[in-house]
């Protein structure tokens, strides 16, 4: 049985009980376990939906499973460094956005061929192994010969070797969530290249690193396994495993009336300050070559902004006063190619320089931006 909540919401708002939210709807249902499916494929809306459920739904005597998929996006863990984890210039060219989630763990690539599952419970009932059993048993119920098993790192491995699922989790005040991915038919021509940083060798950081693993799609071993079939099997197995009689409810995470505050949660997840600014302090130490001249670049980045910038440039290529003025321009700015380009353009307009120097500054800027 699938209830469309958007229809139900019309009924709710038409009644006198205008304060009804998704939370009260669950309370009134009186079910100990509920399966939700998100109607959105937007990463920020779905991450906000997770936050909203975690913060606003009473999970002390109720557990929930949320199934969701996203259009192509790279998602990094809460304490990770995106410059270290993925190829940002490539992602910009391909139009693949970056998101930072609130749980820990490593970096993953999502597209429609990936299923995300979030298991919401009270802190007491937090049990990742049991949740992963739901997934492996569901897959085995569909295809008994499938060799899938959870590892002690909470990955799910196919044929003992290929990672098809990774796990991350967040523990809050009284409740917790454990979410994991499942590779069904992800575009494997993109995945390896976006998840390989172009600048990791020049970065020194204490951020949590990802553990790279060889991956495979379930589709590779069985072309008849599609995402919808798998999601239905997981929903069913969830009910079996925990003894629930769960309906499957489709939720629209853009419905502010039903989930007050969710719009702001989605906005907060999209700010530069959250996605890039939450990167733990790191330093960049790189040699860039401009016009056959090797320039040593040293930058300290804190909260995603350049805290300190130093360059070693031969005096005969660019005078040191010009270099100092250039580096001061960058101090305090966002570690971001667009912002840097804008600042340097303004710098070139305000500081008098010969055409020759202007060309050098322009190329120097391109070199600096190449590590962002």
């Amino acid at each position: 049985m699938i209830l469309r909540l958007s229809n139900r919401a019309c009924v709710l708002s038409g009644s006198a009980r205008l304060k009804s939210t998704l939370s009260t709807f669950f309370d009134e249902m009186g079910k100990a376990g509920i399966v939700l499916k998100s109607a959105s494929t937007g990463i920020f809306e779905n991450l906000a939906l997770e936050d909203w459920i975690h913060d606003r739904v009473d999970l002390q005597n109720r557990s929930m499973l949320l199934l969701w998929r996203n259009s192509p996006v790279v998602v990094i863990g809460r304490h990770q460094n995106p410059w270290q984890e993925c190829n940002l210039p490539l992602m910009r060219r391909l139009g693949i956005p970056l998101a930072r989630r609130r749980s820990g763990g490593g970096t993953v690539f999502h597209d429609f061929g990936n299923i995300n599952m979030t298991f919401f419970t009270s802190k007491k009932k937090y049990d990742r192994h049991r949740n992963l059993k739901v997934v492996t048993r569901a897959l085995k119920a569909l295809r008994p010969d499938l060799d899938v098993a959870a590892s002690d790192r909470f990955d799910i491995l196919l044929n003992g070797h290929y990672k098809i699922s990774g796990t991350a989790a967040k523990l809050g005040r009284t409740s917790a969530y454990h979410h994991c991915t499942l590779l069904c038919s992800v575009d494997r021509s993109i995945l390896p290249s976006v998840l390989k940083s172009n600048t990791s060798e020049v970065i020194k950081s204490s951020a949590t690193p990802s553990v790279p693993s060889p991956v495979k799609n379930l589709l590779d071993v069985d072309p008849t396994l599609d995402s919808n079939t798998i999601m239905d099997a997981i929903a069913s197995q969830y009910s079996n495993e925990f003894g629930f009689d769960s309906p499957v409810i489709k939720v629209d995470p853009t419905h502010e009336g039903l989930m007050p505050g969710i719009h702001k949660m989605a906005q907060d997840l999209q700010t530069w300050e959250w996605i890039y600014g939450r990167t733990p302090k790191f330093s960049v130490c790189s040699s860039i070559v401009v016009e056959d001249v090797t320039i040593k670049l040293d930058m300290d980045i804190k909260n995603g902004a350049v805290e300190q910038c130093a360059m070693e440039i031969p005096e005969n290529w660019l005078p040191s006063e010009m270099v100092n003025e250039f580096t001061s321009t960058l101090n305090g700015s966002k570690y971001c190619p667009n912002e840097t380009a804008v600042l340097v353009a303004a710098f070139m307009r305000t500081v008098s320089m010969t055409a020759d120097v202007a060309v050098k500054i322009h190329r120097l800027c391109a070199g600096v931006v190449s590590v962002m």
Binding site: G77, H79, S103, G104, A169, L171, H178, A207
Partner: protein, 174 residues
């Protein structure tokens, strides 16, 4: 010269300058405060002694000379497992009691940290950036997380003494 700034919701900012003698005599912080115009009586034992107090979220607080040091308890660090990263706030961040102020990441999960008191962050343990394992190895000493001012001293009365906290842990474990 030591300067103690006391923030209190009923009074305008009061600065108390104190000359510290080698032996603490009549000019102890508690005595000086008693002379200032507070509307409420201050108990000297809970505010300025260095005993540990605990929250039900397994954070500990130790107040010394008006500054509270905050960390997580042994029960919490054992439950978390090896801490791999400490996400802590900036100095100057203002926190209300129960505000989320950061997260500790371990193999278990990213566990949110909640402020035991209302106040302003004055110091953050930088040693944890390179050595997050200090939270496991020395949770009451070298693994401290933040230091903060105490805006509302009465909040300390609502926290558990060590004996009460031990009883609380036993009740959860059962």
């Amino acid at each position: 010269m030591d300067v103690i700034s006391i923030f209190h919701e009923d009074i305008v900012l009061l600065s108390v300058t104190m000359v510290m003698n080698h032996r603490r005599n009549a000019r102890t912080p508690a005595r000086l405060l008693a002379r200032t115009c507070y509307k409420r009586a201050l108990s000297t034992t809970t505010r300025f002694c260095a005993a540990l107090k605990f929250t039900d979220k397994h954070e500990w607080v130790r107040v010394d000379s008006g500054v509270a040091t905050v960390g997580i308890s042994n029960f919490a660090q054992e439950a978390l497992g090896d801490v791999v990263y400490c996400g802590l706030p900036e100095v100057g961040t203002k926190l209300a009691q129960s505000d989320e102020f950061g997260a500790l990441e371990s193999v278990k999960a990213a566990s949110e940290l909640y402020s035991p008191l209302t106040g302003e962050v004055t110091d953050v343990n930088d040693a944890l950036a390179d050595n997050p394992g200090l939270v496991n190895k020395s949770c009451y000493k070298d693994g401290w997380l933040i230091k903060m001012t105490v805006y509302i001293p009465e909040e300390l009365d609502g926290l558990m003494e060590e004996a009460a906290y031990e009883r609380y842990i036993k009740s959860i474990e059962d």
